[in-house]
């Protein structure tokens, strides 16, 4: 972007600045000009506050004192005051790592100017009330953390009453439903606030904390009903399943452990200790001005927030190494670091460079000695003195990104965001990050056999995308023994899938060049060919003459009637050969011709499909098997580049030339074999993107009906459509279920006979069946839960809207505006990447939806 960045006017005078080519002329003086004016103080405050604790070269104590002095000395200046107060509260929710340091500034200022703390508490109070009303629970948690750090200057019990209130809401939610996960979220917030209170300058809250911990235990330690659904390591067979560790259960145990160690909480920074030191030097009573926390009520019932949740499982790619490079799950640091990291990553999705910088500077924001020095090599960890930390900051950071990338059912942002964060971090500090990524990749690869299948494909997708950003360099020699594995082996399938995806981002010859000799056979010569052959050019092919005629006619853009002639001749010939559905060979010829004519590029094939749309549409209505032949022909033509084929199938779905069911029947019926079809990553891609199209359509309808201010009759129409679409969705999932149950149970035709010949292969195929089944059962459960929850929210919002409208109408008869209502139903637009995925059915369906509205 820098190459387009233009300085405006100035030294260039009236010169026509648009002609970029003159930019490097000598007359254009790029030397930096000395700043000619003193920077206004409020900007200085802003700059210092934004940068607090960021640099490992500056002493954080001095930074804090300097900001405190600036603010105290100039507090009468409204600009400075507002700058400080607003920015401090904004930083709390945007850059969570800095919360303790901002709290420290307030604590340092308090003895000299108690008004500052009072005003900032007021601001924080307003902020937290807004977040509570909106159900923005992450922000609630962060503001609470800030207040927790300030516990030492709060009157009475400080933040404890809020925690108690949150807890009673959690109890309400938990008693109302056993599947509730919002209550868990509230308990998690409580548990994550406690360490900061206990590390704060406040003392004598042990008893209250212990009492609270005792209460949260029942909720936090009970395994959630839906935990199994989101377990990243379900295992291939029942016996190798890993017990999922719920984030909240871990937290509860870690806090109880910490309570027995006098709340050491070693990793939390305590920048307020400088404030304490200063206090000691001053007259005690004046220093100890305490403030009341502004009134904060937790609404009842609480607002659910924009994103339906499922229980969270703790995930680490650095588990069981010989030397601990990340805190073990027994240590509270694992939760504290992870929580701050995840928030930082997810909040700053709008600037991945900033996120990457935070990840790399992680050690600046926690207590000294929490980590080893940056970029310490793994082998050097052996030389670390006994009793000192061996945690690598880059491992801890990378681990957090993977926990999001591989979160089930889906992380907050699109997966590609987490790719980009890792890419960026690797670019900024390759020496530190790249080896950590290497160990993460090895660990994931080792566990590919047991991982949830959806996660295997996410790993594959990230791996290939990441390599494409770094010259496709990977030490393939490490896995060279696995090249010999059979295709049905999960590791081999992963290898094949990754190479295929690399090729899709680049080209076959390039990827081949990065592979050691034993891998060469994995990339066939045929993949390097740009345009696959037109099979009917071979005289041995049946129907080759009429097919060539179709090619000639389509190329010449001949009228439909002319094209019908060779098609009919194929069908007649087929009939005479006893083919049961003569439409199949003619469809094959027609679709293969379209593929061939459109092989030059995506645009070519799209315009070709557009031209042939009507005939293609009519094929499906005449015969379901001919409709599936369309897919067979496409995937056959593109067998060497299945990615192009999958893409075409996707577009054909948009044209409704194909139906979701036909795609699923094709992939999990026609192509299934004994289950071998399940090992190809492009088949999974095809099925899951088809399912996503259908589920997105349902989601869009739900969002549309939940939109604020929609008249009742339109809601009714949408509800009707919704019922229909949900039924369709259910049917589609049922088709998938039926097909997969057969493979998982080993009852597919042909499986039984060969049972003793190739036992291991059979077992693997059954494993594939089970893994697929898990993924799609989860997808169904998640979708159903989502729809259910959103409909409930919509109903609530509508009830509220009605009540408000009535109240308004009573208050002032002339103004009945409904604009101010912001029901939680709107909130669903944020977050979940899947929800924004795209429009099922492309334009046509969009318009349909518009029409309904």
């Amino acid at each position: 972007m820098a190459d387009y960045d233009r300085r405006s006017g100035g030294s260039r005078g009236g010169y026509n600045n648009r002609k970029r080519r003159y930019r490097d002329d000598d007359e254009y003086d790029r030397r930096p000009q000395r700043r000619r004016y003193e920077e206004p103080l409020h900007l200085k405050v802003r700059k210092q506050l934004l940068g607090v604790a960021e640099s490992p070269l500056k002493k954080t104590d001095e930074e804090i004192n300097s900001i405190a002095k600036l603010v105290v000395d100039n507090y009468e200046d409204t600009e400075i005051r507002n700058q400080f107060l607003n920015l401090a509260v904004q930083l709390v929710v945007e850059q969570p790592f800095k919360i303790p340091f901002i709290a420290a500034i307030v604590l340092v200022i308090n003895p000299t100017n108690p008004k500052v703390a009072q005003e900032i508490l007021a601001k924080a109070g307003i902020a937290i009330r807004e977040h509570l009303e909106a159900g923005a629970w992450r922000e609630v948690k962060l503001v609470l953390r800030f207040l927790g750090c300030l516990q030492g200057l709060l009157e009475g019990d400080g933040v404890f009453p809020i925690l108690e209130e949150l807890f009673s809401r959690a109890v309400d939610l938990q008693t109302a439903s056993s599947e509730d996960s919002l209550g868990l979220e509230l308990v998690k917030i409580i548990l994550l606030t406690i360490p900061y209170i206990m590390a704060s300058s406040a003392t004598e809250f042990e008893e209250q904390t212990l009492a609270l911990l005792e209460k949260t235990d029942i909720i936090a330690s009970t395994p959630h009903a839906l935990e199994a659904l989101v377990n990243p390591y379900p295992g291939n067979d029942e016996e190798d399943a890993q017990e999922p560790q719920s984030v909240i259960g871990l937290l509860q145990r870690q806090l109880q452990g910490e309570s027995q160690q006098a709340w050491k909480l070693a990793c939390i920074p305590r920048p307020w200790n400088i404030a304490k030191k200063e206090e000691e030097g001053m007259d005690a009573p004046a220093a100890a001005t305490k403030h009341a926390l502004p009134q904060i009520n937790v609404p009842s019932p609480v607002a659910p927030g924009p994103r339906p949740r499922l229980p969270e499982i703790y995930f680490s790619v650095y588990a069981d190494q010989e030397i601990e490079t990340v805190p073990s799950t027994a240590d509270i640091a694992s939760s504290i670091l992870r929580d701050s990291l995840i928030d930082t990553i997810n909040i700053l999705d709008f600037n991945r460079n900033a996120t990457a910088k935070f990840l790399i500077d992680l050690d600046c924001y926690f207590a000294a000695d929490t980590f080893v020095k940056r970029a310490t090599q793994f082998d050097k960890l052996r030389n670390v003195d006994e009793g000192r930390s061996t945690w690598k900051p880059e491992d801890v950071a990378v681990d957090a990104v993977f926990s999001q990338l591989l979160q089930l059912p889906s992380p907050e942002h699109k997966l590609v965001y987490y790719h980009s964060v890792l890419t960026e971090a690797c670019k900024v500090a390759p020496a530190a990050i790249a080896p950590s990524l290497g160990r993460a990749i090895r660990w994931l690869y080792k566990n590919v056999d047991w991982m949830d299948l959806e996660l295997v494909y996410r790993f594959e997708d990230w791996f290939s995308h990441h390599l494409s950003n770094f010259g496709f360099t990977w030490k393939w020699t490490e896995w060279v023994d696995d090249v010999q594995l059979p295709m049905v082996h999960p590791k081999k399938a992963f290898m094949m899938g990754s190479l295929e995806k690399e090729i899709r981002l680049s080209f076959a010859a390039r990827v081949r060049g990065t592979l050691p000799e034993p891998y060469q056979p994995l990339i066939s010569e045929a993949k390097e060919k740009d345009t696959p052959d037109f099979k009917y050019n071979s005289a041995q092919m049946s129907y080759s003459e009429p097919a060539k005629e179709i090619l000639r006619l389509l190329r010449a853009k001949a009228p439909e009637a002319d094209i019908q002639v060779p098609l009919t001749s194929i069908e007649e010939a087929a009939c005479s050969l006893g083919v049961t559905d003569p439409l199949i060979p003619s469809t094959d010829a027609y679709v293969t011709t379209i593929c061939y004519l459109g092989s030059k590029s995506l645009s070519h094939v799209l315009s070709q499909i557009e031209r042939c749309k009507d005939r293609l549409l009519s094929i499906g209505t005449q015969s379901e098997s001919a409709r599936r032949q369309i897919i067979t022909s496409v995937m056959d033509y593109w067998q060497e580049k299945p990615g192009v084929g999958v893409n075409m199938v996707d577009k054909l779905l948009n044209y409704t030339i194909l139906t979701p069911t036909s795609v699923v029947m094709w992939a999990l019926g026609d192509q299934l074999g004994k289950g071998e079809g399940l090992v190809h990553s492009h088949i999974f891609e095809m099925v899951s993107s088809t399912v996503t199209k259908v589920t997105n359509r349902v989601r869009q309808i739900v969002m549309a009906r939940n939109a604020a201010g929609l008249p009742a009759d339109q809601v009714a129409i949408l509800d009707e459509t919704l019922t229909k679409e949900r039924e369709e969705m259910g049917k589609l999932f049922a088709v998938i279920e039926d097909a997969l149950v057969g493979v998982a149970g080993g009852s597919v035709d042909g499986m039984a006979e060969s049972a003793d010949q190739d036992l291991k292969g059979e077992a693997m195929l059954r494993g594939w069946g089970r893994r697929w089944l898990r993924v799609f059962r989860r997808k169904m459960a998640v979708e159903e839960a989502w729809v259910q929850e959103m409909l409930e929210q919509g109903a609530q919002a509508q009830a509220q809207a009605q009540a408000q409208a009535q109240a308004q109408a009573q208050a002032q008869a002339q103004a009945g505006s409904m604009e101010g209502i912001d029901g939680p139903g709107n909130g669903g637009q944020n977050g979940n990447g899947d929800a924004n995925g795209g429009a099922y059915g492309g334009e046509a369906k969009d318009e349909e939806l518009d029409e309904i509205l």
Binding site: M1, D3, Y4, D5, R6, S8, G9, G10, R18, R20, R21, L50, N86, L87, V89, L91, E94, Q95, K123, I126, A127, E130, L348, D349, F350, N351, R352, N353, A354, H413, K414, L415, V416, Y417, H419, S420, T423, H465, S468, N469, G471, R504, L505, S506, F507, S601, L602, S603, K641, G643, V644, N647, Q829, N836, G837, G838, A839, G842, E843, D846
Partner: protein, 182 residues
Amino acid sequence: MPAATQTTVDRLDKPSAYYLGRNKKRKYGRDRDDDDVGRERTPEEPEDPLKDAATLYVGNLSFYTTEEQIHELFAKCGEIKRLVMGLDRFHKTPCGFCFVEYYNHQDALDCMKYIGGTKLDERIIRTDLDPGFQEGRQYGRGKSGGQVRDEYRDEYDPGRGGYGRAIAEERQKEEDEYGKGR
């Protein structure tokens, strides 16, 4: 709390300085209001043609990058509605840029954040929000048919036809006049 008008770190899903510069000049002539560039666009600005923009201009592509490759990468941010390759005005061959149109505005913003500035075909690509593709814009506006930047570029870029065309021409002329190796 007053609505946060500016995030504590810059956003990557804002139009580039190039786009803003063009617009500003047309609208107000030159004024030195640099702060404007860093300003968060609030949703209430009705005249903003990028408010619902779902199209991106994509630059610094190799001439050899295919639509399929572009699709493969950009589909990671959402379903793509249309992809228009930038072509040399005279030769009708790819000339290193394209337009990607999504169905949703949010997908385009996400693409700015997550894909702009990363590599495709081993080149760092540039994305910019675009008010929408119009027929004719797919052609290079340089003198010799490609993009303007490929006319006068004096570094050798094998992915974009070597030296800039005008530069290459000049070199050729010099060589003809003074002999090889000068």
